[in-house]
């Protein structure tokens, strides 16, 4: 199996595209951008025909998201201004506002994880197996469970702490 046929890639696309978008979204936090990057990853897979297309796609996506994050860091001030504007100007329903708040809290909790813990958690949530995660991160296969256990605990704890902090701030 030296490369991937178009049919095989189409199948991977069908089963993996959404997971890849989700994975990217939790890195760039912009749904449209995440979709663009996922499309790019698949476009490159068509050209490169990688042997293990699924794992390859996530590695490429992770690299693109990292480059994206660097670029975003340079433009952060600009973006902050834009965000502030749109929040001021756009009336949102309670429900949308609530969802947005929840997203912000989960994002804040995720950002308290170490990069490796976060990566393992996001990859697992995207449907990768332990062995795929091990190959992606360089962890020993036996260490994936331990890392995942720690990542999940920290995510839940950080999220609870965030909620508590908010209640204190409100009350």
């Amino acid at each position: 199996m030296s490369d991937v046929s178009a049919d095989r890639l189409a199948e991977i696309y069908r089963t993996t595209y959404r997971a890849l978008v989700r994975f990217l979204y939790r890195k760039v936090w912009d749904a449209e951008r995440a979709e663009d990057l996922a499309q790019e990853a698949f476009a490159r897979a068509v050209v490169h025909k990688p042997e293990n297309a699924r794992g390859w796609l996530f590695i490429v996506a992770a690299n693109m998201a990292r480059d994206e994050a660097r670029r975003a860091a340079r433009e952060r001030r600009h973006l902050t201004l834009l965000t502030a504007e749109s929040q001021d100007g756009t009336p949102t329903s309670d429900e949308v506002f609530q969802e947005e708040q929840e997203r912000v809290q989960v994002r804040a909790a995720l950002e308290q994880l170490t990069p490796r813990d976060r990566e393992v958690l996001l990859l697992w949530d995207s449907g990768l197996s332990y062995s795929e995660i091990a190959a992606h991160t360089g962890l020993a296969p036996g260490a994936v469970g331990t890392t995942l256990a720690r990542a999940r605990r920290r995510l839940v704890e950080a999220h609870e702490a965030g909620e508590k902090g908010e209640h204190v701030a409100r009350g």
Binding site: Y17, Y25, D36, Q39, E40, Y130, V144, R153
Partner: protein
């Protein structure tokens, strides 16, 4: 028997243990109440973490169709690597517009008329009579002299732009831009952006996204499938030229725009602009815009990269007006309803020839 560690419990709950390993965990849990309790705790933890992650998910949209086209991307990361020439061309393009507007002192055309922007380059090359106030002034000696100076400046700038001293070109551009703003009357979108870009050095990246095509803003790179979705059709490209990348474009009057970069050779990049006009603009184009628009085959800045002799000769001896070509108006709008333009540092004839070659990316 020792207790089961957290990692093994999670691997067990995730279904990632081999059957013998799983059996060994089950055997231990069956006779160890402490581990049984922990197993349930970890199960709840996994469920909770999953819930939280689900709250941080993008909106679930329909799966875009997968069409593994015959896209040819270079092995390198083409969205990161831009050739120095492309960078120089961008500066020169921006300068070309500023200079042109400043020189003519004509209020800029409304960017809402698709295609119209492209009039610029053509008139630089051929200052010939044509409908509309923009071309009404016949070339006289003073005018020719002005052209000469513009040509000289352009030559100087294109040299600077090609050299590492990009800063000089930006200053030069900034000067031209300020002239444009002073004389051009209402500020156009790209005039504003260009002046913004010139205003601060860190903002020069914004300028790199600007394009010689008036009012066109080059957005993020996109994939071929996104391009198809945006346009509702296959983007037109020059067959057999490697596609360096596709970008989402924005321009007033177009509901969707895709800019395809193709490499002519190792140093020459052309852009094929595919635009889907918004429905409201369609009528307007047919009535007023298209006749002028089609005469353009070259963007202003592209010319700045060329040997300026063409500009000089055009200034000295204006060629007759291009042949009216209503049929080409039709050709400009393709069967799929897209408007296309080919841009690049080439002669108008070459660009026109390339344009005739355009074919859908995948028939």
């Amino acid at each position: 028997m020792s207790h089961v560690d957290d990692g093994t419990l999670h691997a067990y709950l995730d279904g990632e243990l081999s059957p013998p390993e799983a059996q060994s965990v089950e055997a231990h849990v069956a006779q160890c109440p402490a581990c049984r309790t922990r197993l349930e705790e970890e199960r709840a933890l996994i469920a909770r973490a999953g819930e939280l992650l689900a709250q941080a998910a993008p909106p679930d949209r329909e799966l875009p169709p997968f069409r593994p086209g015959d896209v040819k991307l270079p092995a390198r990361l083409w969205w990161q690597v831009r050739t120095p020439l492309a960078w120089a061309a961008t500066i020169a393009l921006a300068l070309g517009i500023g200079t042109y507007v400043g020189e003519r002192g004509v209020p800029p055309l409304e960017p809402t008329a698709p295609g119209r922007p492209t009039i610029i380059a053509d008139q630089l090359a051929r200052p010939a009579p044509a409908p509309g106030p923009a071309t009404a002034s016949a070339p006289d000696s003073a005018f020719a002299g002005q052209r000469q100076r513009v040509a000289e400046r352009r030559l100087r700038v294109s040299k600077q732009a090609a050299s590492p001293a990009v800063g000089g070109a930006i200053e030069e551009k900034s000067a031209a831009d300020s002239i444009a703003r002073r004389e051009a009357g209402p500020l156009t979108a790209d005039g504003y952006l260009a002046s913004k870009a010139a205003a601060s050095a860190p903002a020069h990246r914004e300028m790199a996204q600007l394009n010689g095509y008036r009012g066109t803003v080059k957005g993020p790179p996109i994939g071929v499938d996104s391009a198809r979705l945006l346009l509702g059709a296959d983007p037109l490209v020059v067959p057999d030229l490697p596609v360096r990348g596709m970008y989402r474009g924005r321009q007033l009057g177009y509901s969707a725009m895709v800019i395809v970069e193709q490499a002519l050779d190792s140093t020459t990049v052309i852009e094929v602009v595919n635009g889907r006009p918004s429905p409201l603009q369609l009528a307007e184009v047919v009535v007023t815009g298209a006749g002028e628009a089609r005469r353009d085959t070259q963007s202003a800045g592209a010319r700045a990269l060329l040997n300026t002799r063409a500009v000089d000769s055009a200034a000295a001896a204006p060629r007759p007006a291009p042949t009216p070509a209503a049929d080409e108006d039709k050709a400009k709008r393709t069967a799929s309803g897209l408007f296309v333009e080919v841009r690049g540092p080439l002669s108008p004839d070459s660009l026109a020839a390339l344009k005739r070659l355009l074919r859908p990316l995948r028939p």
